[in-house]
């Protein structure tokens, strides 16, 4: 978002955009209280938050990754949930070697963790025996170096050192996410309290324009533009 703001500022030098982090709930809250003009969220709005105006700007698949040596290629959402609950703790059950599973999760408060909890854990708590890391990169690093680890990261950040497992036989590829076949996908939303106008409208339009969407694509997200074209 910082990058987009910089580009936006080049085109509209009169408008100052200040970007602040803090997580989705903070972004939604700030939009309600009008602390900000545009809020951001990386999770879907809850029913009581639906009165905000929302603009989908991009999608991000959350990939479940394992070490390259791990023979397990496919898991169901239920199996993934049981792994992170600590109910399944050996790879043998899933068709892998007779080794203990080391799940790696993100820290409390992380948006990726929140999205994973919403879409995979379904109100079940992530086990406190899971290893915890505070960035996508750190999770990927552990999974790349530990044969028995499993973790979840943003699909745009998968690299050749780890392997994404298929979810009900669907890999978190660009095509599968755009077509809606891969299921752990979170939206990136811009939020306003009222119908946007003036510079706010201009900013949202810029984010949704080809220029703005290209920037989102560059950071590994799937721009909303692609989804509209596809569906």
């Amino acid at each position: 978002m910082e990058k987009i703001s910089e580009h936006f500022n080049m085109i509209y030098p009169g408008v100052k955009v200040a970007v602040q982090g803090g997580g989705s709930s903070a972004g939604i809250q700030a939009t309600f209280t009008k602390t900000c003009d545009i809020g951001m969220s990386s999770r879907n709005l809850k029913p009581e938050e639906k009165q905000l105006k929302e603009f989908l700007i991009a999608l991000d698949g959350i990939a479940v990754i394992v070490n390259r040596l791990n023979p397990v290629r496919n898991l169901t959402p239920d199996q993934i949930r049981m792994i992170f609950m600590g109910e399944i703790s050996n790879w043998r059950v899933l068709g892998g070697p007779d080794k203990k599973i080391y799940p790696v999760t993100r820290e409390e408060g992380s948006g990726t963790r929140g999205a994973f909890e919403d879409m995979v854990m379904h109100k079940q708590a992530i086990s406190d025996a899971c290893l915890v890391q505070d960035s996508n990169g750190a999770v990927r690093e552990i999974v790349a170096n530990s044969p028995d680890a499993i973790g979840f990261i943003s699909a745009g950040l998968i690299d050749e050192r780890v392997r994404a497992v298929a979810l009900d036989s669907e890999l978190p590829t660009y095509e599968n996410i755009v077509a809606g076949r891969y299921l752990i996908v979170r939206p990136f939303l811009l939020l306003t309290r009222d119908e946007p106008s003036g510079p706010i409208r201009e900013f949202i339009n810029y984010v949704l324009s080809i220029d703005g969407q290209t920037i989102l694509r560059k950071v590994g997200l799937i721009p909303a533009l692609d989804i509209k074209n596809e569906r």
């Binding site: 997580g23 820290e107 408060g109 708590a125 025996a129 899971c130 915890v132 170096n145 530990s146 680890a149």
Partner: protein
């Protein structure tokens, strides 16, 4: 006139250091303590930490910090003390002039480098030798033990060196061997300095963050074995601060307050022990 001015200036600078300490203390407590009253001591002193769901139990982290620190002491005390004894009693001047700066240099290595060495060397080593994920109390203890070496060595060394030569001469005159002299005369007289060094090292181990985050795996469960992952107070603050809001953020400051109290107590003990003689 000039002297007076310089004196005032120095006084002001000295006080500004104390002032910033006071401000930091005030800020941490002012941010953290209200939360403890809000959620209640019972919640705060439980083992369940899930701040986004209203669970603020810090005990598993306190346990984690203590276990990792204990591990560091198990590694650091024998190594550090024997190193200090060797340096002070057995080594020749040229050896001393090389070894002492080298050990003190250990203190200058950034903790992220220790963490990196831990991840690249120690974690896979532990995984391959003993099993488990490798991210463990053991790994964190070993790395922290090395990190607190300079503190323990240099303070112990100084206090061993400051034992009057007459004590040693007296001991030799009574027919004691060199080893007996060290064990029964030198070490007991240097005791307070050695203990102070250990306690200061302990403070450093409890406060260490980066290396521990990288090596310990940060699982919230209280470890059952040396090979289990562990979460310390400092790592929780560093891991979660960036996205935290509201009560979660306040809870992290409350963690900071607890850490602050622990470290103040440790330093207080260290000062008391050194003052006694």
């Amino acid at each position: 006139m000039k002297d007076k001015f310089a004196e005032r200036l120095l006084l002001f600078i000295a006080f500004s250091a104390i002032l910033s300490l006071l401000l930091i203390t005030f800020f941490i407590f002012q941010q953290g303590i209200p939360l403890i009253f809000k959620v209640g001591l019972k919640n705060f002193l439980s083992f369940h930490w899930a701040p986004t769901q209203g669970q603020f139990g810090i005990l598993s982290m306190v346990m984690g910090s203590l276990m990792v620190t204990l591990g560091a002491l198990c590694v650091g005390i024998p190594l550090g003390l024997s190193c200090a004894i060797f340096l002070a009693e057995f080594s020749s001047k040229p050896v001393q002039s090389i070894l002492k700066p080298v050990i003190e240099l250990l203190a200058g290595i950034p903790s992220v480098v220790y963490g990196f060495i831990g991840i690249v060397v120690l974690v896979p080593l532990i995984r391959n030798l003993f099993g488990g994920s490798g991210f463990s109390v053991l790994g964190a203890g070993i790395i922290l033990g090395i990190m607190i070496l300079p503190t323990i060595v240099s303070i112990s060394y100084d206090s061993i060196k400051s034992v009057p030569a007459a004590y040693r001469d007296g001991s030799f005159a009574l027919g004691a061997t060199r080893w007996q002299t060290i064990l029964m005369v030198v070490l007991p007289s240097a005791r307070s300095g050695i203990i102070a060094g250990i306690i200061l090292g302990m403070g450093r181990a409890i406060g260490e963050t980066m290396a521990v985050i990288m090596i310990s795996g940060n699982a919230l469960r209280v470890p059952h074995s040396l090979l289990d992952s562990v979460r310390t107070i400092t790592s929780t603050i560093a891991l979660e601060l960036s996205y935290s809001t509201g009560d979660h953020r306040a809870a992290l400051f409350a963690c900071g307050s607890v850490l602050f109290i622990i470290i103040v107590i440790l330093n207080f003990i260290a000062i008391r022990i050194t003052r006694r003689d």
